[in-house]
């Protein structure tokens, strides 16, 4: 793994890494072409994120307005469907398209915030375990093994059962349950990095542990962290929707893909669209995030073992 380079503006000379020569523009294009799947996925993801952010302006209806006369209307292309509700309506006549657009907000907020939480915990512990070794390493890795033994779902279910379902609780649970994967990877990388010359040199210059960890080692772990975090966002979104699907996550009437799917399940005998579209939204979102994560890994470091 090549040194990514310490942040600029660092006082000590040893912190600075010689800048890599910028690749000629032709290579950029070739790389982009090679990563066409990742780029395409990135564009789709951007559309999804924009739709969620701009939901109040672009969604055709208010996602909470009940219109009992037009309940269970099928999508526009089916007989009985109207252009007014392109994806149809649900059991109490709320516009499905608007609800799917708004539902993305919950998934993205939960996905990003719990990943921020879990990556912070996981990376810090991984650095500590790898750098200090010995007892610190043993304790941290034992906890990692315990948490990894537990199915993520089971842990989340058990904690939500006690805390009660709500958005902040869910972010906390998913954030706290997801850290071991970062710790494992970061620890392994740290173990290798701390033997490298630039760290030894830093130590010889009398740098403190904190400085060595955060200024010398951490910058080289950014790409690994970014790739795991990206892939984890997809995982968390699926879990969040599962919890909401069970009624243990975001509570109705707030539209979330999971709870829409859960409500739609009751009506699947004659109105399949209520369950189908939110689920498709989850599928597409996780798919493009995974594709982007894989492309990021290939781009940043093709030899990364994840």
């Amino acid at each position: 793994m090549s040194a990514v380079g310490a942040p600029s503006g660092v006082a000590l000379g040893a912190d600075r890494v010689a800048p890599m020569p910028a690749p000629p523009t032709g290579m950029w294009w070739r790389q982009l072409r090679r990563l066409k799947w990742g780029v395409g996925a990135g564009i789709v993801l951007l559309v999804i994120v924009l739709a969620a952010v701009l939901a109040p302006w672009i969604s055709p209806h208010d996602p909470l307005v009940v219109d009992i006369r037009h309940r269970l209307a099928p999508p526009a292309w089916m007989t009985g469907g109207t252009q007014e509700h392109p994806l149809g309506t649900d059991q109490i006549g709320r516009d499905l398209l608007s609800r799917v657009i708004y539902g993305g907000r919950v998934s993205l907020i939960v996905g990003v915030s719990s990943v921020l939480l879990s990556s912070t915990i996981g990376i810090l512990l991984g650095l500590a375990a790898g750098y200090f070794g010995g007892k610190v390493d043993w304790i941290i890795m034992t906890v990692v093994n315990v948490v990894l033994t537990f199915p993520f779902v089971l842990l989340a279910l058990a904690v939500i059962a006690v805390l009660g379902p709500s958005l902040p609780n869910m972010i906390a649970v998913l954030g706290i349950a997801g850290w071991p994967i970062y710790t494992r990877v970061i620890r392994a990388e740290t173990l290798a990095l701390k033997e490298r010359e630039f760290v030894t040199a830093g130590r010889a210059l009398g740098m403190s542990h904190l400085r060595l960890i955060f200024r010398q080692i951490l910058p080289n772990l950014v790409s690994a962290g970014v790739v795991i975090a990206t892939l984890q966002v997809a995982q968390v979104i699926v879990l969040e929707s599962f919890l909401s699907f069970l009624g243990l996550g975001v509570q109705p009437p707030i539209p979330a893909w999971g709870n829409m799917l859960g409500e739609g399940r009751v009506y699947m005998l004659n109105s399949w669209w209520i369950a189908a579209f939110p689920g498709a939204a989850i599928f597409v979102t996780t798919l493009v995030i995974n594709l982007m994560g894989n492309a990021l890994r290939d781009w940043l470091d093709p030899h990364m073992k994840l």
Partner: protein, 306 residues
């Protein structure tokens, strides 16, 4: 070999201890059982009386000790809801969960082994690309949505299979496919990468040089070694497989531990939740240990602790 198993068992004990603390902590540290048991309007003295009655005013380590010493004997207390020992309730629901998990594993192998082998032997061919695409899509597919879509198509529209329930082999088809589809992508990738690595080894060249038929080279020589990473990772993934089974069960109303757990969470029946969590975790730990020992038998390098 003896030392290898001994090391595994020490780790097992540590992990079990961790799990017991985790499941104790979920109820006693994060939540307050008395708050859950008593009605909202109960007076302060009432709370104190119940706290004393349940032994919750003792120091935490003493509470843990009494929890753990009873749990070791299989006594997790009475269900607050069903008026039966929690342990018995959970054990009764164990077989369907185990059958479903095994069936899912079988489906995953039936999909992954042939596809992974073809993809490895015909690298960069059409089949290989197709397999990669299916794998990426499969990893993003939320199981619970896949389950609902299967129900809509095969049970509601075509009326071929029962939508939910348990009993005949028809009941097994959709849930086990669902679970298998979730596990197949990673298994396929492992089979492919394992086989590719093995096929470039010297002993394969020797076998070919002897004039051995290609299918015999693959089946007799390559496959055995390619199996090792597959078995190891499948063993480690058992927790995730069980997590998948939890999700599948709730979709198909499968009468296993997971539906019991989710129902108990809804009813706030904590002894049952606690017992289910501990027993499932024990099952995972036991399977992991078995896999480790199995791999140790197959691969002498592992025994040496390389």
């Amino acid at each position: 070999m003896r030392r290898y198993i001994a090391r595994q068992i020490v780790q097992l004990v540590v992990v079990i201890f961790g799990i017991s603390i985790l499941s104790f902590g979920i109820l006693h540290v994060i939540g307050d059982p008395v708050l859950l048991l008593l009605p909202q309007n109960a007076g302060k003295e009432e709370f104190e009386r119940y706290r004393h009655l349940l032994g919750l005013d003792r120091p935490l380590y003493m509470q843990y000790w009494s929890f753990a010493s009873r749990a070791v004997q299989g006594d997790f207390g009475q269900s607050w809801y069903g008026n039966a020992p929690a342990f018995r309730l959970v054990i009764e629901r164990m077989p369907p969960t185990i059958y479903l998990t095994l069936a899912g594993l079988l489906v995953a192998l039936l999909i992954a082994l042939p596809l992974g082998t073809i993809a490895a032997l015909k690298r960069h061919s059409f089949v290989d690309t197709l397999c990669t695409m299916v794998a990426v899509a499969g990893q993003a597919l939320p199981i619970f949505w896949l389950g609902i879509m299967l129900i809509i198509v095969f049970a509601v529209q075509l009326r071929l299979l029962p939508a939910s329930g348990y009993g005949t082999w028809q009941h097994f088809l959709m849930p086990s496919f669902c679970l298998g589809a979730a596990l197949a992508p990673i298994t396929m990738r492992l089979v492919r990468s394992g086989l590719i690595e093995v096929m470039s080894m010297d002993y394969i060249k020797t076998a070919r040089a002897k004039g051995m038929l290609e299918w015999r080279v693959v089946v007799k020589h390559a496959f055995r070694n390619a199996c090792i990473p597959v078995i190891t990772v499948l063993g480690l993934q058992f927790g995730q497989l069980l997590g998948g089974a939890i999700i599948t069960e709730t979709v198909f109303a499968w009468p296993g531990v997971a539906t019991l757990t989710v129902d108990s969470i809804r009813n706030q029946d904590f002894p049952v939740v606690q017992c289910a969590v501990v027993l499932l975790a024990l099952l995972i730990v036991a399977v992991n240990l078995l896999v480790d020992i199995l791999v140790g038998f197959i691969d002498p390098r592992v025994r040496a602790g390389v």
